[in-house]
């Protein structure tokens, strides 16, 4: 409760500063129109950017969960309805595919002194997006529960499943392990994580031909099934939001959860202080003797529409620089794992940065990755519930992907 209030206060302060005293962002004139997803860190960024509004500069923002569905049509008109699209590695791809974003090299040189080199998303040497926060699924566990059963922090998925079996048999915990196994995007993401952990390559190098139908794919599925066997029967309905009450209600002891949730989960001023104090964040486990964590790294950033005037582009870039200014991260250090200069990782970001340090791979930004992700999300449920074999599941994924990729023009 207090947690929410604190952020609300931070937001309110930013909003107030927007309406009372215009922040001086040094913009002469222009129109800034931001399209963004809707969660706390992005609210902070867009509120700070909106504060640049003045008599000659208009700044509007539209924060909506539907941003992914709106962005392509909205940016393909001329002039486009939005000047800035806030994106992640996944959602930048459709914009790149259709050539709807412009390089920002000149703007970076002119106004981007605050940026660090690793914030620049460069494609073919050109800056196509600017990242400001990182995210990844990583391990969270209940220290007291594991200690009581004499289990050390699991470093691998094998340890994790063994620990879950022990807890279930000896500790009397009905579902020691939980995960985002809801069919669709979440389940697809879990496979992507696990498959990366086994060192698998999703596609044959240099082509869009699928390559998951092999040893790594079967092992990844077997591991996911082994995890599922230690979970509550409803595991196929769990996504990030529905796991919240399970974790705060002490319904589980281990999970691989998004880093963006960490600050709320370990907040001792929240609804379940005892659980929060007992939760430890760690890097995502490795799997199958691999050396890198079985997870994928994500970033959130912004890209700039192609079909806008240079004046608006300049104004938009400056407004976004104010939005991701070091002060914003400094004022709200726990809101995200910021990539912004001067940011010191808070306890909530420990998991994400440990995962990055352990060498996890980024989520592939391939043009056809989204099609594979959808095919995975739709075709693994039957295997997970024991209704078909792993081979059949992978064959189904391959068929679905091939059909979709043919329709999208990536395969002949």
């Amino acid at each position: 409760m207090k947690h929410t209030l604190r952020y609300t206060a931070a937001l309110a302060a930013l909003l107030a500063s927007a309406s009372l005293a215009h922040a001086d962002c040094g913009i002469e004139k222009g129109s800034v129109r931001i399209l963004s997803n809707d969660f706390l860190a992005l609210q902070l960024v867009s509120a700070a950017a909106t504060a640049c509004a003045s008599d000659t500069v208009t700044v509007t923002s539209n924060l909506t969960a539907e941003h992914k569905n709106i962005q392509v049509p909205a940016l393909s008109t001329n002039p486009s309805s939005y000047t800035i699209a806030v994106v992640a590695n996944g959602s930048l791809v459709p914009l790149l595919n259709d050539g709807l974003v412009r390089p920002m090299d000149d703007l970076v040189a002119k106004y981007g002194q605050q940026l660090q080199p690793n914030q620049l998303i460069k494609i073919d040497g050109k800056v196509m997006a600017i990242a400001f926060m990182a995210n990844a699924q990583h391990l969270m566990y209940r220290k007291s529960v594991l200690d009581a059963a004499g289990i050390a922090e699991p470093k691998t998925y094998e340890d994790m499943v063994a620990a879950a079996v022990t807890l279930k048999e000896k500790g009397g915990i009905a579902s020691p392990l939980v995960a985002n196994f809801k069919p669709g995007w979440d389940l697809g993401q879990e496979f992507v994580n696990m498959f990366s952990g086994y060192g698998g390559e999703f596609f044959e190098p240099g082509t869009a031909n699928l390559a998951i139908n092999g040893e790594a794919g079967l092992k990844a599925l077997a591991m996911m099934k082994a995890m599922a066997d230690t979970m509550a029967p409803e595991y196929m309905t769990y996504d990030t939001n529905s796991l919240d009450p399970v974790w705060t209600g002490s319904g589980a002891a281990m999970m691989n959860m998004w880093g963006s949730r960490a600050s709320a989960i370990i907040d001792t001023a929240g609804a379940a202080p005892d659980v929060a104090a007992d939760t430890v964040l760690a890097a995502a486990p490795t799997v199958g003797g691999g050396t890198i964590p079985a997870t994928t790294l994500w970033w959130d950033g912004f890209a700039m529409a192609k079909n806008i005037t240079d004046e608006d582009a300049e104004a938009s870039f400056q407004a976004m620089m104010a939005g991701i200014a070091p002060e914003v991260a400094a004022a709200n250090p726990a809101a995200a794992a910021w990539l912004i200069k001067g940011y010191e990782p808070t306890p909530a970001a420990v998991g994400v940065f440990a995962t990055v340090a352990a060498g996890a791979k980024p989520y592939p930004m391939l043009p056809y990755m989204g099609l594979l992700h959808t095919a995975l999300g739709n075709n693994l449920a039957e295997f997970m519930q024991g209704q078909e074999s792993a081979e059949q599941a992978l064959a189904d994924v391959t068929t679905a992907y091939n059909t979709a990729a043919t329709e999208a023009g990536f395969l002949k």
Binding site: N37, D38, N69, S81, D244, P245, S260, A264, A272
Partner: protein, 293 residues
């Protein structure tokens, strides 16, 4: 007024009452539960440990010091400015109902009074139009709307909702007008009225029950729609349902879920008033309408 046909023996009465009672509990319980729970904190209403917490309010007492809290309502209405969405919803629903009914009554009347072959085909076409999944329609709108620069505004959404609802409205009103005797307006025309005058002077006074009923269904569609409003409106033009969905969000902050619960309860208020107010008309309307297949 009790006549002999309506008098019932005791066992049948009990059966009847019992059945109605069971149905009422089934229908109303989730809403009463939500109403009660909207005054609790999230850890109680969505308690993983024990659902009895939602009744006793254990966590609510822990967190706020009292068994009931208005935090959800305060958050939704004050902090998140839910009232803005309420105003937008009021504009959208009123306009959708008025426009749908105006053009729907004219069209429905014409369909009911015309015997041409193509009348039948228009009705069938309307039915097929209704079969189109809304998700596909809405995705098709996006690009043209952005190109015409009409995306995000309330009038666009209103027209789209009117169009989507038109097949149902036409069918319902067409059936309703069929049950109004033809002689009524035809005798007026014999007396020298034009078709429109006959419609205005003779039909309009007797059509209200059917129109009110159809209006209620239009109202519900506009009020509850998520598919269209979530995709075609900007944040400041959002109506209530997408606003509630945004409380749930992609990443839920703690207790924001309770904003959604409080907002859902708030959104039920006007419906209560509406149904009680129009109850009579609904019933008499359908009676006279005798909707025919």
């Amino acid at each position: 007024m009790k006549n002999r046909a309506e008098r019932q023996p005791l066992p049948l009465m009990l059966l009847c009452w019992g059945f109605v009672l069971i149905w009422l509990i089934t229908a109303a319980f989730p809403f009463l539960w939500t109403l009660w729970g909207s005054f609790k904190v999230e850890a109680d209403f969505f308690s993983y440990a024990d659902w009895m917490n939602a009744v006793t309010g254990t966590r609510t007492i822990q967190q706020t010091g009292s068994a009931f809290t208005g935090a959800g309502y305060e958050g939704a209405w004050v902090e998140q400015r839910f009232w803005l969405a309420v105003i937008n919803t009021a504009i959208v629903t009123v306009c959708v109902v008025v426009i749908s009914l105006t053009i729907g009554t004219l069209g429905g009347y014409a369909l009911a009074r015309s015997g041409f072959r193509y009348t039948f085909w228009i009705l069938i076409a309307a039915l097929i139009f209704r079969a189109m999944p809304h998700v596909t329609l809405v995705s098709g709108y996006l690009l043209p709307f952005f190109q015409l620069n009409i995306w995000g505004y309330l009038p666009t959404t209103i027209i789209v909702l009117v169009a989507i609802n038109q097949p149902f409205t036409l069918w319902m009103l067409h059936s309703f007008f069929l049950s109004i005797p033809k002689d009524l307006d035809e005798s007026a025309m014999v007396d020298g009225c034009t078709r429109f005058q006959a419609f205005r002077l003779v039909i309009i006074p007797v059509m209200w029950p059917g129109v009110v009923t159809t209006g209620l269904f239009s109202f519900l569609l506009a009020y509850n729609d998520f598919t269209v409003t979530s995709m075609l409106l900007t944040q400041e033009n959002q109506t209530m349902v997408p606003k509630i969905a945004s409380f749930l969000g992609t990443v839920q902050a703690e207790n924001k879920v309770m904003y959604a619960v409080a907002a859902v309860v708030s959104a039920m208020g006007p419906l209560f008033v509406l149904v009680l107010f129009f109850q009579r008309q609904i019933v008499s309307g359908l009676t006279a309408g005798a909707v025919k297949g």
